[in-house]
Amino acid sequence: MDPVNRKPSLATVWLGGCSGCHMSFLDLDERLIELAPLVEVKASPLTDYKDFPEVDITLVEGAVANRDHLEHIRTIRKRSKVLVSFGDCAVTGNVTGMRNAFSVPDCINRSYRDNSAVVVGIPSGNSVVPELLERAHPVHEVVDVDYYLPGCPPDGDAIHQLLVDLLNGRAPSSDGRRFG
């Protein structure tokens, strides 16, 4: 980050999560307006990017649960100076990881056969629905992570503190941090 010459850039990514961490991000409310001039947002779940950009800070929500996530997170890691595991699914696997005690075929059957009155199709892994990995991984099981922000979801204050610290080139403070 070079605060003198240009604004730091930020990306937020949504992998195997419920989008709750992003909702909590929006809970920064008017503080978003204060932050907006300080950063350049290069990618978010609402941005239609083909290729993940080079960024200073990336927040990753969600576990690495399928082939697409895996490919995506590897690219993201290469192009992000600072990578933050954002919320419990990214940090521990959390709800997304609850399937890990079961086999992938058992999970697929449960969702697409047992609980469905009409069976229209089972994702094969060759279609638009990406193939599930053997287990949903916390992000740091797959790529190096620089900082962690636990919480399901992390609250607005914690997100704000982390962003302010990172934008000022500091390691995020652990004051008031919780685990789980």
Binding site: V95, N100, R135, H140, Y147, P150, C152, R178, F179, G180
Partner: protein
């Protein structure tokens, strides 16, 4: 009963012979982390979170089962102790399925508190994701093995305080599991009096009251102190 003087973290402390390093430290304001220990139940020295350094001893000693001695010099916090304690807590998180976001004691849990106290923000070990069940056969309570840390507080309170000895531990190592009687569903136990003591002493959300939603369960340990004071001093006071 003689007075013992010792040094804990550079502070001169006094206790009484027969007391443990853990109790004397806490009485003098030095809070040593713990999990299996709970005041009022016999100590088993199982979780090793209370390990301390004692001058002149090569091995680390569990404070909750180490009696104080005259002139002892004890250290309760050091880089090495913190590293060991962190690893223990990480092992506990990785061993079973702790999904805090859907847990009855979320934000009210001794395991979470330990993680925060030790500065953990992620678990470096690979999660095991064992396939475990919850026993909800009891009318008022439940036992979710996913959240059990095998501290055996429940076993001890049921045996030593309630006198029912419903709980015990079956199997070994990572397969260890708390069982009611000889492995019956809790609701069918002949010995359980439904007193609820085990639920209140359990440090995690493993034992819980039915009907409580996420984060709603608060454990009440006051009863244990009440009973112990009554037994030891004959005073029925809160």
């Amino acid at each position: 009963m003689s007075v013992v003087t010792l040094e804990i973290d550079g502070k001169v402390c006094t206790g009484v012979s027969g007391e443990t390093v853990f109790d004397v430290a806490w009485n003098n304001g030095v809070k040593i982390p713990r999990l299996c220990h709970i005041g009022g139940l016999p100590n088993i020295g199982a979780c090793r979170l209370c390990l301390v350094e004692v001058e002149g001893q090569k091995k680390l000693l569990p404070a909750c089962i180490t009696p104080v001695q005259e002139g002892m010099v004890v250290r309760t916090w050091s880089e090495k102790l913190i590293a060991h304690r962190r690893l223990i807590v990480e092992l506990l998180f990785a061993e079973r399925n702790h999904v805090c976001s859907v847990c009855v004691v979320n934000r009210n849990c001794e395991l979470q508190d330990l993680a925060v106290e030790l500065g953990l923000d992620h678990i470096r070990l690979r999660y095991q994701f064992p396939k475990l069940v919850a026993d909800t056969s009891h009318e008022r309570f439940g036992l979710d093995h996913n959240r059990c840390v095998l501290c055996t507080r429940c076993v001890r309170v049921c045996d030593e305080v309630e006198g029912a000895h419903t709980w015990d531990v079956s199997r070994r190592g990572a397969l260890s599991q708390i069982i009611a009687d000889l492995g019956e569903p809790w609701g069918e136990s002949d010995t359980c009096t439904s007193c609820g003591k085990c639920v209140q002493v359990c440090p995690t959300g493993a034992l819980f009251e039915k009907g409580k939603a996420v984060s709603e369960m608060r454990k009440d340990r006051g009863f244990l102190k009440y009973i112990v004071t009554a037994r030891e001093k004959g005073q029925w006071i809160r």
